[in-house]
Structure formats: C-alpha cells, structure tokens
Symmetry: C2
Subunit: 205 residues, 2 copies
Amino acid sequence: MEFSSKLLEQAVYEMSQLPGIGKRTALRLVLHLLRQSESQTEHLTQALTKLRTDIKFCKNCHNISDVELCEICSNPNRDASVVCVVEDVRDVMAIENTSQYRGQYHVLGGKISPLDGIGPQDLTIHSLVEKVKAGEIEEIIFALSSTMEGDTTNFYIYRQLEEYRIKTSTIARGIAVGDELEYADEVTLGRSILNRIPFENSLKN
Amino acid sequence: MEFSSKLLEQAVYEMSQLPGIGKRTALRLVLHLLRQSESQTEHLTQALTKLRTDIKFCKNCHNISDVELCEICSNPNRDASVVCVVEDVRDVMAIENTSQYRGQYHVLGGKISPLDGIGPQDLTIHSLVEKVKAGEIEEIIFALSSTMEGDTTNFYIYRQLEEYRIKTSTIARGIAVGDELEYADEVTLGRSILNRIPFENSLKN
C-alpha cells in the first residue's frame, strides 16, 4: 500500500497492530476518525491512555479493577471459601452474567502455553496456592476453556494444591470442547457451574 | 455487559464507536493493549492524535497529504489537463496501484447522499468547477463507485460542468454495479481507466 501521507501511514500501521485488524480495515477505521470531529479521536486516545496507565488489578483475585480490592472480593455476601479459577476478565464477566455463582474468582491472566512462552510463573498461580495454604479456601472450581492449554493449566494447579486436600471441581463439560468460554450461551454456562464434577472424575474422560 | 472497571468500560465504549467494531471485539482489542507494553498504546494514541491534528489536505486535489500541495499535484510528469474525480484517498490509492493513470485527481470527500445529510455543498465540487472555469482542465474522468449515490454525484457534477464543454468520461463499467471501488482487482480497475466512455453514453445504459 502506497500512502499519500506519512501521518496516515503511521496511524494505519499502529492500528493494524491490533489483533484481527488488517491494513485495509485499519485504513477504514482511521479514515472514519478523520471524518468525525476531533473530539472523538481525543476521547478514544484519552480513554486508552487512561486505561493503560491507571488500571489496577484487585490484590485478592487479580481481576481488572479501579480500586485495590474489587467489588466482588469486597462484597460480604460473596462466599470467600469458594474460588472459581478463570483466565481473564472476560470469563468473570461471562460467569457473572449467568447469576448462578456467589463465590469469588481468581484470575490467572492466561493459560500455561509453552509455545507462546507462557509458563506457570507468568500467571498468578503462586498467589492462589498461598491463599489455599492460608486455609481460606474450601473449594476450587476450574473454569478455564477446555483446550489443551486450559487442561494443562488445570492439571498443573491441581497438582500444586493436592497436598492441601481441598475440594476441586471443573465446570461441567456442557461446553463444547475447543470452544472459548466467553462465547458460551448463558444457560449452558450457568448449568455447567451448577453441575460441576470432582476434578478426579474429569481426568477419566 | 457489566464491567469490573469504569476505565475498562470507557475504553471499550470509545473503541466500539468505530465502524464494524462491536462491544465484544472492542473488549478483545482493549484487553490486547493491556497485555502489551505501555509503549504500544502510546504509539497508537500518538499516531492517531498526530494524524487528527496535523493532517493537511492538498489545496489542489483535496487528497490527504503532509504538505500543502500533494506529491501527485506537484509532479511535473503528471498531466494536469486530465482530472479523475474520486470519493476519497482509498480510491486514489487503488487507481495509483494500477500504474495506468498519469493525470491528476480531485477528491470529493464523499458522495451526494440526502439520506445521510450530505449535499453538494459538503463536497469539494465548487473547487472543481472553479478549476474547470479557469480553463485548466480538458477532461474529467468520473471514477466514483457505481452506486445510486455515485451516479447522482456524477450527474450533478456533469450538469455543473455542461456549459464549459469539456470532455467528460466515466471509467468503464467493468466493475460490477454496487461493488466498492477499493475492492476491485487491479486489472479490472486499470482497464476501466483505459476504456473510459463519454459520460453521455453512460446515461443510455
């Protein structure tokens, strides 16, 4: 692509660095911004900058939050003895949408994936083990996507927690294998929380 | 969608204002930025801000440019007596890619579209008529997308220029009716420039 302007080229290049955005789409988005008022670009860039610099992660569950302790962790009506282990904030949002779950969460920030260079030390597994060690937790629910990386991560954490003899479960496999958690419909996802099975059982499948 | 953070919600909202970007996609893009280094967000926001504030439009053809007179208009090897009328910078890029055209351009900045509230006065038609009036132009090539709005715009400009008795043509209708110019393949688009037909003839179809 030959651009008539270096500024345009640079903006398109940066936009096309986002996942799933090719050069043509990036150009379309950038030209859209040029046609809109200057304030729209300002609002977008300010919101992104503010998010990137001011964002906090809850010190208990590591979910994205504006405060030190997120709304769920600081809610006395949530059962702190049950912890649902998820990959990221999208999974928290998906489970919250079902209104089926009254426990807390633990956001890993990813899955173990050697191919992408993501090992256990890159996730918040250590902090989860510490919480279990402190005796605060009675049950861990694994709610990672049922992909190879998700299963690996489940199993790794399960082995770390084995000695503490707490209850471990996974959400029911009502969700199709290989599907991403965030796209599951609310009924299936809600039922899979209610019908969770002991982790040992899930190993037999 | 319930967000755990107002900053996240705001960023997702602003991102989803872009065309073709829904809430879910916006969330995916924003979370991607959060996972990358802070400098990537900085580069993106700076490029967009710089583009929006510093962008110039060529004073002759109204194309996006970094300088007062764009590269094409200031190139002495381009034939200034032939002017190709296009909608926006993407169409200029598409035609330039064919290497079939050695004239200049006139970028309208849109098409006449009463439904979207875009009238002739919102486009750069007046400046085109002035150029023709000054006797600088021998031929006008209409290269708008062959949609109803494109045809309306062609016809409006044609009527404005009728009294000056210059040659007018449209690119050959090798491009399927209703298709957008920017997605045409280079061979078809190049040929349609070479095989342009008198505008009068195109009215008979």
